[in-house]
Each structure stands twice: as C-alpha cells, then as structure tokens.
C-alpha cells in the first residue's frame, strides 16, 4: 500500500515523550496537594481525607506572621520595582538609540544573569556592614533587595507593551494642543496600564516566591513564608507544609491566569 500522506512534522516517539513530560510535570504537584488532605500525622502514610491541616496551618501563629510578612514585602517590592521599571521602560523605548542604552539594558537584566546565591552573599555582607555602622534594623533591607531583583520582571512586559503601542495617538493628542504631561496622563498611561499591571503581577509573584536572597538577608524572626517552609523541611514533616504549599500554589496560579488574560488582550486589540 502506498504511503497515504507523509505527515512531515510528525516525528516518531515525540508525541509520546511530550505526553509523558506533561504528566510528569503535574503528578508531583498533584501528589503534594493530595497529601495536604491527609488525615494522618505524618506525610508518609495516607490516613484518609481531612481538611485538618488547613485549619491547623490557619491557626499557626508563625505561619500567619510569615504570610503577612511575605505579603507586605511583595506589595512594597512590586510597587517600587514597577514604578522604577515603568520609568526605565519609557526611557529606553520609542526613542533614537542613545549612548549608554546597552549599559542600561545590561544593568536592568543583571539580576537575571547573576546566580542568586552570589547576590545573596553580596547583600549579606553589604547589609551586615550597614547594620553594624548605623544600627538600623528592620524589614527594609529585605524590601530593598526584593525591589531590585524584581525590576527586570516588571520591566519586560511593560517594555513589550510600549513597543507594540501606536505612536499616532500620542501625535494626535499633541496636535490637539495637549501638553506632554496631559498626553502622558490621558493617552500613554491608559494604553500602557495592562502592561504595568502585568509587570506588577510578575514582580509580586517573583517576590512572593523568593527563597535564597531572603534567607541570607533576613534577620532573626523575619521569616517569610518560603524561608519558614525551608526551615521546616529540616525537621519531621507534617502535612501542614503541604497545606501551606497548596495555598501558595493557588495564589500563584490565580495571579498567573490573570497575567495571561491581561497580556492576551494586547494581542487581540
């Protein structure tokens, strides 16, 4: 029998491998979530369905404090990094290439290139010196560190949005005697808003998830949710950690879905 139609793009074994990869990506996560509903005291043995560990996690003061601290840090870090990233994006797009622009790009993307552990060590040393010299303590150091490494994540979607924007609307506003500030406030900013929201959301998620830099920069009693969990992983584990993980997972997935809806609108419109 003659070959029906040679499906050129179909390579043997590729689809099977891909399906296995997708299953392998999600099975561990679902296992983790499933065990958060485990009634047993130990993560090891399944003891029937229960939501006890969520109740327990909810009433654990340490977890409550760490969660609140994580949220405060993420809010500040997202706000600060998005504000400076928006300005930088406006400064580095839609104008003639200028001297030093490459330097600015390299600086902004620097946190993506340097291994986290190296930045963590560097900040440990620097903040240690500052603390010793000034005696100033507090959560500010963690917020400062987070604000810095969140900048590239906030910058990229904002820049992408700016580059895709139609310049003619701003030219039209200027032709109609709008001042540069009015044009920015009434035309550019509203058009840019989805990009800013997307950038802020990514920055928020990145800050919320950070372990390594926070672990090195935080002082005693300044645990965020991830560093609290990392600390717990040394000890005998209870499904409480699964319950906390599942909650954090839920928040991340919700934010990501929102992010995708926001950036998809850009392509449609």
């Amino acid at each position: 029998m003659a070959e029906k139609h040679f499906e050129v793009s179909r390579l043997p074994g590729f689809a099977t491998t891909a399906i296995i990869v997708f299953v392998a990506l999600y099975v561990p996560i679902f296992t983790l979530v499933a065990y958060s509903f485990n009634a047993s005291m130990s993560v090891a043995v399944w003891g029937g369905f229960s939501t006890d560990w969520y109740v327990k996690a909810w009433s654990n003061q340490q977890i409550k404090d760490a969660t609140l601290r994580s949220l405060i840090i993420a809010c500040f870090a997202a706000a600060i990094s998005t504000a400076v990233a928006t300005m930088a994006a406006l400064g580095t797009t839609r104008r003639k290439a200028f001297k030093g622009q490459t330097f600015i790009y390299v600086m902004i993307n620097q946190p993506l290139m340097v291994p986290e552990i190296v930045t963590a060590v560097a900040l440990l040393i620097l903040f240690g010196m500052i603390k010793q010299a000034t005696g100033i303590q507090g959560i500010g150091y963690v917020i400062l560190a987070h604000s810095a490494f969140c900048i590239p994540f906030a910058y990229l979607p904002i820049r992408a949005r700016l580059e895709g924007m139609d310049l003619s609307l701003e030219t039209a506003a200027a032709d109609l005697y709008a001042t540069p500030w009015q044009t920015f406030r009434r035309v550019t900013l509203p058009l840019l808003a989805p990009g800013i929201a997307a950038g802020a959301m990514l920055a928020f998620v990145i800050s919320l998830d950070d372990v390594v830099i926070t672990e090195f920069v935080k002082a005693g009693g300044q645990d965020t949710l991830p560093t609290y969990m990392l600390g717990q992983m040394k000890r005998q584990l209870t499904p409480e950690i699964n319950a906390v993980s599942s909650m954090l997972l839920l928040v991340t997935v919700a934010l990501l879905t929102a992010f995708f809806l926001l950036t998809r609108k850009k392509n449609d419109g």
Binding site: V8, L11, T31, G91, A122, L123, F149, M229
Partner: protein
C-alpha cells in the same frame, strides 16, 4: 543633522537617562554594586569568628583548590572541594542534556499543535515555571521518598518488593533539577521551532531524506539558537543551585551554592566564600558570553 535635530536627539538621550536613573540607582545599591564588595572580601583574611580581618590576603582564592595541612603546614589539593565542583558541573551538564532530550520532543509537540491549541499547551508548561521553586522541589521529595509515589506504585505493581532509597543523593538532586528547570529548556526551544518552516521538511522528503536525516540535517541546525539558549538557561541556574541540593541532597551532598553558604555559616571562612562566589560568577559570565557570541554569529550567517 541640523542644529535643531541635534538638540532634539540630545534632549531625547538625556530624558532616556533621567527616566532610567531611579532603576539604575536601586539596581546599583542592591544588586550590582554589592558584587564589588564581594571582590574586596575575597582578598581579605578570614576573621576568627566569621567576617574578615582588614588585611590583604590571597588565602581565599588559594583555598578554592588547596588546603594547608594543620599538622605539618604543607599545601595539598583539597579533594573535598574538587568533589563538590565535580558534582556541581557533572550534575548541571547531565541536567542540561536530559532536559534537552525530553524537552525537544515536548517543544516540537507544542509547536505542531493547531494554532488555537498552542496557547493552552504553553500555559501548561508555564504554570510550573512560575510556581515556587521550593514547592516544586518539595513535590519531588513527595514522589521520591521511601513511602512516596514511585515506590508505592512500583510495589503495588510488584516491580519492587522493597522500597528504593532514592532520596538524599546525586540522583535525587538530578531528578529535582531536571524537574524544576525543564520549562527553561522547553520555552526557548518552542520559540525556535515555532519559526521553523515546515515546508523545508516536505522539500527534504521529496529529495528522499529519511525522518532521521531530516531531524539531523535540517531541523537541528536551524533550531540551534533555541538549543543554545535553552542549554544556557538550564545550565546557569543548575550550577548555582542552592534550594534543590539542600532539600533533596541531604546535608552531605553539597553543590557549589551550598558550599558557599557553608563558608558564611559554620565554615566561618568569608574570604573563601567570597572567592567561591566570584568563581561561580566568572564561570556563569563566560557561559553567557559564549551564548551571545554564538547567537550573534548565527544571526550573521543567516543574512550572509
């Protein structure tokens, strides 16, 4: 250029710098600048109880490869350090290779879906990518441990009679890193394959190329930039990994990242830790430069 245009260009450049300044200051204070302090610290003498003595010393850099015998004060190669470097490099290379072997078919599969389904498959890859690294690492712990999913299933299927001891060792670290960094391989590969013109395959087929020949002689050379990008994106964080080896390696199976932390904790040898950090940074920078070089050359070749 007329004077007015020149003025306009200057004004635009100045505004560009002014608008970027707050971000640059923040990045300099809390990301790039502190690295300079690490360089200085790597050339100081270790303090007795951690921190440093402010006097010049190359002990930190020498200590990367050599140790002084505490009894007869002779220098010899630090085998323990070499073992850690070897573990870091070999596990990172293995992770890169394996993520490519399974990531390429996955990226190909996504790129050959109908256009309206592609976003969905990509979303499935992206979700794990953005979820907490610690949670994903812990999820692998759930799967690999003695009473975990793999052992339970294999015992139920009578493949095993005794649970396998898979946790806390190089194997667990390898599985964990492959799992957490796989999306970093799939995404750039997909971007490359997505631009690939499938008509080339038809042309090759018409010229009697086998599927294997098409893959080797047509597809792989064209998607090479994606392969290089994915490999760098996986290799760089693997080499500097801290969380995965800590959670899945147990205390003893360190990688460079954990070894660096140790110097600032119990090891109390900050200059050595600083020198190790700089070494890691240099290796990563070289890898990134190689990538830029190759990606650049590829772009030129296409035009030529």
């Amino acid at each position: 250029m007329s004077p007015a245009e020149l003025r306009e260009t200057r004004r635009s450049a100045r505004n560009g710098w002014l608008l970027s300044t707050p971000a640059l200051i923040l990045l300099f204070c809390a990301a790039a600048g502190p690295l300079l302090i690490v360089v200085i610290y790597s050339f100081l003498a270790p303090g007795k109880y951690g921190n440093v003595e402010w006097q010049f010393s190359t002990a930190g850099w020498v200590g990367i490869l050599w140790t002084k015998d505490i009894f007869d004060e002779t220098w010899h190669l630090a085998d323990a350090h070499l073992a850690i470097f070897w573990r870091s490099v070999s596990l990172s290379l293995l992770t890169t290779l394996f993520t490519f072997l399974v990531g390429f078919p996955t990226a190909w599969f996504i790129a050959t879906r109908p256009a309206n389904h592609r976003a969905f498959w990509l979303f499935l890859i992206t979700i794990p990518f953005w979820t907490n690294l610690l949670i994903r690492t812990y999820a692998i712990n759930e799967v690999l441990r003695k009473e975990g999913l793999v052992n339970t299933v294999l015992i139920k299927l009578h493949v095993l009679s005794e649970p396998l001891d898979m946790l806390y060792g190089p194997f667990a670290i390898f599985v964990g890193m492959t799992y957490v960094y796989l999306p970093l391989m799939v995404l750039p590969l997909f971007a490359s394959i997505d631009r690939f013109d499938m008509k080339l395959l038809e042309a090759g087929h018409d010229l009697y190329a086998s599927r294997w020949q098409l893959l080797r002689r047509v597809i792989l050379p064209i998607v090479k930039p994606g392969i290089i990008a994915g490999s760098i994106l996986v290799f760089v964080p693997s080499l500097g990994a801290y969380v995965t080896p800590r959670v899945l390696g147990g205390g003893k199976q360190m990688m460079i990242g954990n070894f660096i932390e140790l110097q600032f904790g119990q090891g109390r040898n900050w200059p050595l830790g600083a020198a190790l950090s700089m070494t890691l940074l240099i290796v990563v920078t070289v890898a990134l430069l190689v990538y830029v070089r190759y990606a650049g050359r590829d772009g030129d070749a296409r035009h030529g």
